[in-house]
Amino acid sequence: MTLNDLITILPLAFLAAWGVLLLLVDLWIPANRKGLTAILAAGGLAVTLGLTLARGQHSLEAFNGMVSVDGFAVFLDVIFLGSGLAGIALAYDYLKRTHIERGEYYSLLLFTVAGMMLMTYANDLVIVFLALELLSLPLYVMAGFARLQLLSEEAALKYFLMGAFSSTFVLYGVALIFGATARTDLPGVVAAVQGGTANPVFFLVGAAMLLVGFGFKSAVMPFHMWAPDVYQGSPSSVTAFMTVGAKAAGFAALLRVFVVAFQSISADMTPILWALAALTMFGGNILAIAQSNIKRMLAYASIAQSGYMLMAFVPYGQGAVLKDTIAAMLFFLVTYSLATLGAWAVVIALEKEENKDLEIADYAGLGRKYPWLGAAMTVFMLSFTGMPLTLGFWGKFYLFSTAVEGGFTGLALVGLLTSLISAYYYLRVVVYMFMKPGEPTLTQDPWIQLTALVSAFLVVALSLFPGPLLDYASAALMLLR
């Protein structure tokens, strides 16, 4: 390890160190002043964000090429750090209100973000695995953070079992690829494949296992079965963070590994990806219709969103489309994150103790009583649907556009038709909020409402001028060799 290595990963190193320190510092913060921990954690994230933005999009390698920090990583890191900040803002009041406030929450959150960042840096399959675990393990604990609540504990255990299950697939895949190429660093793997020294069978099976593992992580059908339970059972502030962060990290891994190392087998992968994408879009949306619990509905909705992202990924093997594939997925992640965090903010604002007020029917009258929050939620729902004048429109537009560019018009058609299905259940929330009578009560917490309103504002405002963001996403290229 040289000093240069350390400087290259400075944001990550800082965040990890901060998380560790926070764990210690928190021990001496009295129980009734855990808000201080939250502020410290947010400060750490903010500094990391600053460090990340300050370094720009140029590419650097460190630790003998085991990590590479490039525009792709920086772009995703900004999303992760932003969602981390939002995660803290959402948790700040929620944890107090539900009596599960403990300082570890914030340390765990920082560790998770550190894992996500490492995932974006990873240029070695072993690092990918480590990052995956680093981000998952704290999340398992966070999912069960509402201790003594059966729902939360079950969610945590399910998440843990399925998460560990998927990790073993990733690991076995890595081992097989190592076996096929004698290397674990992505460039080395590529070199071995190009040099013809790789064992094609091991390589293909390994890649498939990685796909399964990442599929689990980002809740792609048919590897999604944990997601609804976990999203529903976890404390909402965790779910909000998880639906954004963990999913994005799963896709980050998918992108990095497949784009860099698995170009050569894209012909084999494309039909599989096609089927997975179609299945996820279709299944996620269909199942979401039947839900009456808002957390569960959002869970299935988020599964469906994975399908859309996967759709743009199908043509990853086409050199001409690749740039758009990456940019489209990155851009969509921004749109998805904003709307998701915002929607969860509304859910959290409405949620009462003991999982009350989480049925969609509980949203009746929200739009009349709290028009701003209702409007914000409407914006998020429309953004998920992909209606114009929300950022979600451009996000889906770009994804569909990429699919069409790659020649997968049929898949794009599936995606569009399922969007139509999704409109039905998204609209139902709007229907309840505005068109049914009801008297919901809201927790008046400034941070939660700020998160909702800022997200809504960004979703609309950025949709009018998406140019800079799109350019930023297009410029966020991976260090490819």
């Binding site: 209606m387 556009s401 018009t409 998406p466």
Partner: protein
């Protein structure tokens, strides 16, 4: 750029909506007046656009941003195809706003904001000349309309609103796919550039045509995709129905003119008989079903299906008479059906029912209303001297002589529709206004108030104007029609 009349007109309602946002919900009359003044100013601005029409620099055309390297332009311009639509929109909006004075009492603020947003969307749809921009406006109109129906509608408003939303969206998602396909093949979404690059997607004309046609046909609505319409109309508040019938439906027909015919002339020629066939079925079916309705509003709604069948027939006659007749008929339908809905709304405000059997003999109690309703009905039937006649006659002339249709039978059958229209409209007139007063409540109904007269009279003026002197309107349409004809003729040459 700010002083660009098109831009100013399109987005001026936003200013009004923003102002309304600052009022308290209780300040109803302030909100109403702001909305009315805004829409009137918008109408004034549209007259400025009319004055500027024909000048080159009147449009706005600049790069918005690039997505995946494909440029998306902010391209709006006024031409022969959309000038009348724009005028119709800005003309109907203040009238519709005025009609809500008494009808909408709850949540006036939200209503007016949505109404003004809707106007922005509609103007945008007509003026946008970039496919993506067009799509944005097209989809955007759904949202305010959805809320207008869902929040201020009748009993089954939620069902109607969702059905409206999903039906329309179903068409448009497929259109989006076609737009993306076009974009990747021609490397642009800008309409003039696409027209120049027509060859790049010549191979896929028919599926592309179908994709666009589906979206537009649902909106028009063409038979058999019309089922959302009666629900939406019946449940929508009066002003909503007026705008829905008057403007929103025209967006579909306009889409056919602007995109299907211009982008895919060959496919249009090949598929013209099929489309016209559907149109004829729509004419007859709409008329037949209208006759059986007991609810006046539903009757008017089905009459829309029938009338828009004429518009479609005219469009797919693909000759000068058919096209200009269709465009004019779009305006006519907006005027007369809009007026009919207003009449129904007036009745509903008085009696809170729309069933024909609850009325009867109203001529005696509300003579002015009855007389005006008669005029409007006659206009809708196509009585010579009124606007409907001019439009329908031109369309039928075009359809008789159409080379694209290749058979006079389309026109022949459609004539039947004219007769049927007379039957069901007169049937309604008789049931509602003539005969003895059967219900006691109907004896002492108030006649039209000055405000209501102010709503209805401008419409009548234009109805008579078009009926008696349509030439200026045809003049405005002509360049657009010529453009389409040129495209169709070159396609016809290429086909043979």
């Amino acid at each position: 750029m700010v002083l660009n009349p098109i831009l100013l007109m399109t987005f001026f309602p936003l200013v009004g909506a923003a102002v309304i946002l600052f009022f308290k919900s209780e300040q109803k009359s302030a909100i109403r007046w702001t909305a009315l003044i805004t829409s009137l100013v918008t109408f004034g601005l549209s007259l400025w656009v009319l004055a500027a029409y024909g000048r080159q620099d009147v449009g706005i055309h600049r790069l918005w941003f690039r997505i995946a390297g494909l440029p998306i332009h902010f391209h709006m311009a006024v031409d022969g195809l959309n000038i009348l639509m724009v005028l119709l929109t800005t003309f109907l909006t203040p009238l519709a706003v005025l009609s809500t004075w008494k009808a909408v009492e709850e949540r006036v603020k939200g209503f007016m904001i949505f109404f003004l947003l809707l106007e922005v969307g509609m103007l945008g749809v007509f003026l946008a000349l970039d496919l993506v921009l067009f799509y944005i406006f097209w989809e955007f109109t759904l949202i305010p309309m959805y809320f207008l129906i869902g929040l201020w509608g009748g009993e089954r408003r939620i069902y109607a609103a969702v059905k409206f939303f999903l039906f329309t969206m179903a068409g448009s998602v497929i259109m989006l796919l076609a737009i993306l396909y076009l974009g990747w093949n021609a490397k642009t979404f800008d309409l003039p550039a696409l027209l120049a690059a027509r060859d790049s997607f010549a191979a896929a004309q028919i599926p592309l045509f179908a994709a666009f046609a589906l979206a537009f046909a649902i909106k028009v609505p063409m038979w058999p995709l019309h089922t959302w319409l009666p629900d939406a109309h019946v449940e929508a508040p009066t002003a909503g129905s007026v705008i829905l019938a008057g403007v929103l439906l025209k967006m579909g027909a306009y889409g056919f003119l602007r995109f299907n015919l211009l982008l895919f002339p060959q496919a249009s020629l090949q598929l013209a008989p099929w489309m016209a066939g559907l149109a004829v079925i729509g004419i007859l079916y709409g008329a037949a079903v209208a006759y059986t309705q007991k609810d006046v509003k539903k009757l008017v709604a089905y009459s829309s299906v029938s009338h828009l069948g004429f518009v479609m027939l005219g469009i797919f006659a693909l000759n000068a008479e058919g096209l200009s007749g269709a465009i004019l008929q779009m305006v006519n339908h907006g005027l007369s059906t809009g007026a009919l809905f207003l009449m129904v709304g007036f009745l509903y405000e008085r009696r809170h029912t729309r069933l024909m059997e609850s009325f009867g003999g109203l001529w005696k109690s509300v003579p002015v209303l009855a007389a005006l309703a008669l005029i409007v009905s006659l206009s809708s039937m196509g009585l010579p001297g009124l606007n409907g006649f001019v439009g329908e006659f031109t369309i039928l002339t075009g359809a008789f002589g159409s080379a694209a249709l290749g058979s006079p039978w389309f026109a022949g059958l459609s004539t039947l529709g004219v007769i049927l229209a007379a039957v069901y409209l007169l049937h309604m007139m008789e049931k509602v206004f003539l005969g003895p007063i059967t219900h006691a409540e109907n004896r002492s109904l108030p006649d039209l108030s000055p405000r209501e007269l102010a709503v209805i009279l401008p419409l009548l003026v234009v109805i008579f104007w078009i009926g008696l002197y349509p030439k200026p309107f045809f003049g405005l349409i002509e360049p657009g029609v010529a453009q389409i004809l040129a495209a169709v003729q070159s396609a016809a040459l290429a086909l043979h």
